[in-house]
């Protein structure tokens, strides 16, 4: 199997999701703009904009995470590890990838628990009083998606470790 192609596919798919999320953000920006104009020109701000924006924003932000993981965008301190032999550094990459995976797995699991609590309590938004659980289920699904994405990232690193090929650089593909 071609590692570059796995890496590429991972980046492409997740970037598509992030784009949908950010187009959602542009929609929020447009709604804010309409709200501002309507407030100025018609003295008729839209009561629900804040309410819905909050829920909408959670989803759009969550959509960014898989892409960041797939493209290995992260703030790391690399200069010390770079002093080590290349092989050791590659091992560190794998370990760091597994720690990252552990974090996202824990987070996704706990988000699912949180969704369960929301479904049970029936919590609603402040003003429009729409149930908030469905929105958080979408957020949770996006964080669950981070798990296979990060598994692929780690897999590629492990495979490269055994195939003696150079490490994948940040933001590759």
């Amino acid at each position: 199997m071609n590692l570059d192609r796995i890496q590429d596919a991972n980046v492409r798919l997740t970037r598509g999701i992030a784009l949908i999320g950010l187009i959602g953000l542009l929609i929020v920006a447009t709604a804010t703009l309409v709200d501002v104009l309507s407030r100025w020109l018609l003295n008729a701000p839209i009561a629900g904009v804040y309410d819905l924006s909050t829920l909408f924003i959670s989803v759009t932000m969550a959509a960014c995470f898989p892409a960041a993981l797939a493209s290995r965008q992260n703030i790391q301190v690399t200069f010390l590890a770079e002093l080590l032999p290349a092989k050791v550094e590659q091992v560190l990459d794998v370990v760091a990838g597994i720690v990252t995976l552990a974090f996202f797995a824990l987070l996704a699991w706990q988000l699912a628990v949180y969704c369960g609590e929301l479904l049970e309590s029936g919590e609603t938004s402040f003003i429009l009083e729409v149930p908030i659980a469905p929105w958080w289920i979408v957020v949770t699904a996006l964080f669950f998606l981070c798990i296979p994405v990060q598994i692929l990232v780690v897999f590629v690193d492990v495979a490269r470790l055994f195939r003696h090929s150079p490490a994948v650089k940040k933001g590759a593909a």
Binding site: N43, V49, E123, P131
Partner: protein, 313 residues
């Protein structure tokens, strides 16, 4: 003997009156009365969790043992609370707090079954604070007023104004940017959240008040020794509601006087006629609420009865 350590999470700032006049004295009184059997460690200012809507989750997950909550931050969890938010009910924090406590103690309010409510209070009723002259209710017509919930939205619409939703932290900036023209608020919050600097006209017809308090989960409370439970109840409950209500009313009176004395601020007490107009206008949102809510009529009646009883005492 083993000390029982309890973590008390307070997401509002340490300087706030609720912390200073209710929660801190209560914790100190409990520790003193139990002779060091319990040690209550306070975490004010959100150090144990800054998100107001996550306090109940924190209790259930054991992050905190006692937590300050504003039930309105979890819409849908305490369906009957809104009764105290109805306009034209309590006249001050003392009677509001005592009445609310009695409703709670009498089992009138749903959603609290899994909790031991140690203290529960209400703010003074919300008067209107704005950036433009307000002489009568008519001046509010078409003005943008901040709201934080559905009932408030209906009431603001009932007085002819335009409701705008936003979190409390955004109010000062939004007032100075003209995003809103006024906000309903009680005086202590007006100063605590930096809104006082952005408003110069204050109008004393009122909307409802907001309940808040501190609770434990039933499970954690039941695990405490009985004598500790007894002390906690004795130092809280109606007795604390009275003490805190009085403190808040005193604070409010002081701040109102300070505002009146400030030449740059105007404070308007509504005329007899204006009060009547106001009561008539807001009665539509009260009626809408009682009609919509499954126990609306019953709750509203119970509150009115409690308030009358307290006023008669």
């Amino acid at each position: 003997q083993e000390t029982i350590d309890l973590k008390f999470a307070v997401f509002t700032p340490e300087q706030e009156i609720t912390y200073q006049e209710a929660m801190k004295p209560w914790a100190e009184a409990v520790m003193e009365a139990t002779d060091g059997k319990v040690n209550i460690q306070m975490f004010p200012g959100g150090t144990l969790g800054r998100d107001g809507s996550k306090q109940i989750k924190m209790l259930k997950d054991g992050v905190a043992d006692i937590a300050f909550i504003i039930p309105a931050y979890n819409p849908g969890l305490f369906p009957d609370n809104a009764v105290i938010e109805l306009p034209d009910t309590s006249a001050n924090a003392t009677e509001g707090s005592v009445a609310f406590w009695r409703l709670l103690e009498g089992g009138n309010l749903r959603g609290y079954e899994d909790f031991e409510v140690l203290g529960m209070f209400t703010t003074a009723p919300y008067s209107i604070h704005g950036t433009f002259p307000i002489e009568t209710m008519a001046d509010l017509k078409g003005k943008k007023i901040r709201i934080a919930g559905k009932l408030e939205q209906q009431c603001v619409e009932a007085i002819g104004a335009v409701p705008v939703g936003m979190p409390i932290s955004k109010i000062p900036e939004s007032l100075s940017r003209g995003v809103i023209d006024a906000t309903p608020m009680h005086y202590a919050a007006l100063h605590a959240f930096g809104v006082a600097g952005a408003t110069d006209h204050h109008y004393h017809n009122v909307l409802g008040s907001l309940p808040f308090g501190f609770i434990m989960t039933r499970e954690t409370f039941d695990a405490l020794p009985e004598d500790v439970q007894a002390v906690m109840r004795e130092k809280g409950g109606e007795a604390l509601a009275r003490i805190f209500g009085a403190a808040m009313d005193a604070e409010n009176a002081k701040l109102v006087q300070q505002t009146i004395d400030d030449p740059d601020q105007t404070v308007v007490e509504p005329s007899e006629q204006d009060r009547k107009d106001w009561a008539e206008a807001v009665s539509t949102c009260v009626n809408a609420w009682t009609a919509e809510h499954d126990k609306g009529e019953e709750l509203h009646q119970a509150l009115i009865e409690q308030l009358e009883a307290i006023r008669a005492e």
